[in-house]
């Protein structure tokens, strides 16, 4: 196949960091190419160089056989290269039609806007990937999966030759992921190359024609998927082989730490009963809208249940607020760490110690800064959070490390019951393994863990029982050791 883009010996350094070390990379016309690697391996830098946001320190870029001095943002778009970032770059206050057409209208020189033309542009783009969206809907009102289609349609209004999707599925529910992958294949049918960045190995294997692996600023391999499997890919990404052990729950007769009977909340979930024993990791899964996150929010008092009974260590407790839940020894690590879990602009130290400030009081009843810092350092060490100094803002950390900060924050409160909602979403393979190992360690020391996850494989490997919710109720319970991920998936998607 003809090549569309070739990078030769690309070097790029930032202050003190050699992000790309002489990378060679080619992309063929109309291929689906996946880019994988751990956080900080250089793949984001590579995307930014291809999209013209960054200029390489040295090296050569060839687009369609022609050497290019450097790719500025506008020059990149003119060559048919478009990037869809994770945040999608949409305008929530504008309609679908305008969001799709705005780039094209701008290219034509702006001036007076012809609204009929705007709709024509939008319809033509939608037709190319065979989607049919309400042109007048306000984009901010649409679910994230539909918003993504709007972003793709916008890219299609130009003469698109290469579409770069930066972790497009990180925040998508399962159904939308499948939809997106089929759109990606559709694009390919139109001769458009797609460079697809993802942490999710199963989608990579489902969609890629070639897979390029990055590690420490170097391209370690480019291979077709049939020459790779999960273990090989992880080994290439990390330079190590991960020995995966299935979680084993030691003591099936351990005391019951949490008992829930008939918990209900209108429009959220109904008649939920479950038990957690000390040292147990129980998986909870279900589609978005099955009520699993809502159940977690109720157990943690954020949106309390309306009826039912909760017992902790055999004693009935009322959970009407977060304070009640914390007092009962429940900790919750939310699904969206950015929104609910962390104060992004505050330091690692401030975040880690936020839940336990009352235990760090010195004389005069004020928080003792020395004790606060000592505690933060302790947790940074315990979880292996990569940070130069506890005073740096959390927003400067990588996703995996941010996730560890949230976990540290709640573990600092030494809870008896830990609810983890999607703890490894958007986290790379190594960080994911580290988080899993850590959670197992907590269980081994007697903590009861409720692990909410979208990934069936994660539930199967890391829990002893899996609860499956559909339409607001727990419908199935299976033993993890005897289960296959596919079986869990079927139950999750079964008609309720």
């Amino acid at each position: 196949m003809e090549e569309f883009l070739r990078l030769e010996k690309i070097h790029k350094s930032f202050v003190g960091v050699h992000a790309l070390k002489g990378v060679d990379f080619t992309l063929r016309k109309g291929e689906i190419h996946c880019l994988v690697g751990e956080n900080g391996c250089g793949k984001s830098t590579l995307i930014k160089i291809i999209s013209g946001v960054l200029q390489p320190d040295s090296g050569r870029i060839v687009v369609e056989g022609q050497p290019v001095a450097s790719l500025g943002s506008a020059a990149t778009m003119a060559r048919g290269i478009q990037v869809i970032y994770q945040d999608l770059s949409l305008f929530p206050n504008l309609t679908v039609a305008e969001n799709i057409a705005i780039a094209e209208v701008k290219e034509r020189g702006g001036g007076v806007v012809d609204w009929d033309e705007v709709r024509r542009i939008a319809r033509a783009a939608m037709a190319r990937i065979r989607v049919d969206l309400d042109l007048d809907a306000e984009v901010g009102e649409l679910p994230i999966g539909v918003q993504q289609l709007v972003a793709i349609c916008r890219a299609l209004t130009s003469d698109l030759k290469l579409l770069i999707l930066d972790e497009p599925t990180a925040s998508l529910p399962k159904h939308d992921i499948e939809n997106l992958l089929s759109v990606v294949r559709d694009l390919q049918a139109h001769g458009i190359a797609v460079l697809f960045v993802s942490h999710k190995l199963n989608e990579i294997f489902a969609v890629a024609e070639r897979i390029t692996v990055f590690r420490d600023g170097e391209r370690v391999a480019t291979l077709p998927p049939n020459e790779l499997d999960d273990d090989r890919l992880v080994a290439l990404m990390t330079g190590r082989t991960l020995a995966r052990k299935v979680f084993a729950f030691a003591d099936a007769s351990a005391r019951k730490v949490l008992e829930v009977r008939g918990l209900s909340k209108r429009n959220h979930f109904a008649d939920v009963s479950l038990e957690l024993r000390a040292g147990e990791i129980v998986g909870l899964t279900g589609l978005i809208g099955s009520g699993r996150t809502e159940l977690a929010l109720a157990l943690f008092g954020i949106s309390p249940a309306e009826s039912g009974e909760i017992r902790v260590e055999g004693k009935p407790v009322q959970i009407r607020s977060v304070q009640d839940a914390v007092a009962a020894g429940i900790a919750y690590v939310p699904e969206n760490r950015l929104v609910q879990g962390l104060v992004m602009k505050h330091s690692v130290e401030a975040n880690v110690t936020a839940t336990v400030l009352d235990r760090l009081l010195g004389r005069l009843g004020l928080v003792d800064p020395a004790r606060k810092q000592a505690l933060a350092r302790e947790w940074i060490k315990a979880l292996g959070i990569k940070v130069s100094n506890p005073a740096v803002p959390v927003q400067t950390l990588s996703g995996g490390n941010q996730q560890k900060v949230v976990i540290a924050k709640w573990l600092a409160a030494s809870p008896r019951i830990l609810i983890l909602d999607g703890p490894t979403v958007g986290v790379d393979v190594m960080a994911k393994a580290a988080i899993h190992d850590y959670v197992r360690g907590l269980a081994a020391r007697g903590m009861a863990v409720l692990l909410i996850t979208d990934e069936e494989a994660e539930a199967v490997a890391n829990t002893n029982r899996i609860l499956i919710m559909r339409a607001g109720r727990i419908r199935d319970e299976i033993v993890a050791a005897a289960a296959e991920a596919e079986q869990v998936q079927q139950l999750v998607e079964a008609p309720s």
Binding site: D87, S89, L90, F91, I102, A103, K106, H268, A471
Partner: protein, 349 residues
């Protein structure tokens, strides 16, 4: 067959009505009609040509300003508050300059507009280059402009202005003569307001520049990535509110025919409240020129009505405060509701 056709026509009308009721402007128009009806019942003098033309004239200054304030609010999600100071300075300067050098009303308007644009551009430049929130920048420039005015003029009143302003301000269309011999009618000032609204509508709705204002207000990062001219759009918005403040100053001068150097400042909140009442989001990215006009109109009716009903005019201030509070909490509530709506679970019985 005919019944079917009627049913379809009925359905179309119902759909159109639903579409109409989704617009804030429709509700505002209904509210205005109800308010007018109520006031008229209490005092029939309200709904007379003379009275209506009167309040349409006296609110033309805030109406003109509102269009500019709207555009900056859409762009920044934070209001410009310096526009009254700009208008105040321009009014004083124009009054003094025309007394000194004479000239004609067109020249006065052009000079006022130019001066307003310059002062607005200062805001725009600071917001763009130093990434300071609009409200902070404009509070600062408000104090600079208004403070300088007092430093230079010592707050001296101007009781006599050039007669061209009286001629301009008293120009009437469809004029009539009242029983006591005074003429009344549709003021040219009201038409200047109307022109400002039409201009604002055209820019916001029909030009790419206007759409860029919405785009930046909706998602600044995305707008920048898309290559939208950030500097040009920001300078336009702030220059435009300056321009309209300049024009509004001349309109005000022509109505009042004197300069009290602190008469315009203090009206910021009233104008911002009218714009927000007209459906502009306090978080930016939303609003229409028609809505802003209806918001000003509603306040004008309210103010006039309270006077006609012999109610304390401080109720007017209370209303402005209530409108701002309700609008802000409502915007925030809508955002909250949208987030919650996404996690609705259909629980099986």
């Amino acid at each position: 067959m005919r019944a079917e056709g009627q049913r379809l026509a009925g359905a179309t009308v119902a759909a159109m009505l639903r579409q109409l009721l989704r617009h804030n402007e429709t509700w505002l128009a209904i509210l205005i009609v109800v308010l007018c009806a109520g006031i008229t019942i209490a005092n029939p003098a309200f709904l007379t040509y003379e009275n209506v033309a009167g309040f349409l004239k006296s609110s033309s200054m805030t109406g003109i300003m509102a269009v500019g304030v709207l555009i900056v609010l859409i762009l920044s999600g934070s209001p410009d508050v310096s526009f009254t100071a700009i208008a105040q300075v321009v009014e004083y300067a124009v009054a003094v300059a025309t007394l000194q050098w004479g000239g004609n009303i067109y020249l006065a308007l052009a000079a006022a507009a130019a001066m307003g644009v310059l002062m607005g551009l200062v805001n725009g430049a600071i917001v763009h280059w130093f990434r300071v929130p609009t409200i902070i920048v404009t509070i600062a420039t408000f104090n600079i402009y208004f403070g300088m005015l007092y430093v230079i003029t010592h707050g001296k009143l101007i009781n006599l202005v050039h007669p061209m302003f009286r001629d301009f301000g008293n120009t009437l269309l469809f004029s009539r003569v009242s029983s006591i011999g005074a003429s009344y009618g549709l003021s040219l000032m009201t038409l200047v307001w109307l022109a400002a609204v039409l201009l604002g509508w055209f820019i916001l709705r029909k030009t790419f520049l206007g759409r860029s204002v919405f785009a930046i207000g909706g998602n600044e990062v995305a707008a920048e990535r898309l290559g939208i001219a950030m500097l040009r759009t920001r300078l336009f918005a702030f220059g435009f509110v300056g321009l309209l403040s300049g024009v509004a100053a001349v309109v005000h001068l022509s109505i009042v025919q004197a300069v009290v150097p602190n008469i315009i400042v203090g009206k910021e909140l009233e104008v911002i409240a009218a714009v927000v009442l007209g459906g502009a989001s306090v978080f930016g990215g939303k609003g229409t020129a028609l809505g802003a006009a209806l918001g000003v109109l509603l306040f004008a009716i309210l103010n006039n009505g309270l006077t006609l009903l012999n109610v304390s005019s401080y109720w007017y201030n209370v209303t402005i405060g209530v409108v701002i509070t309700v609008a802000i909490t409502n915007s925030a509530y809508q955002a909250l509701r949208r987030r919650r709506a996404r996690v609705h679970v259909k629980v099986e019985a």
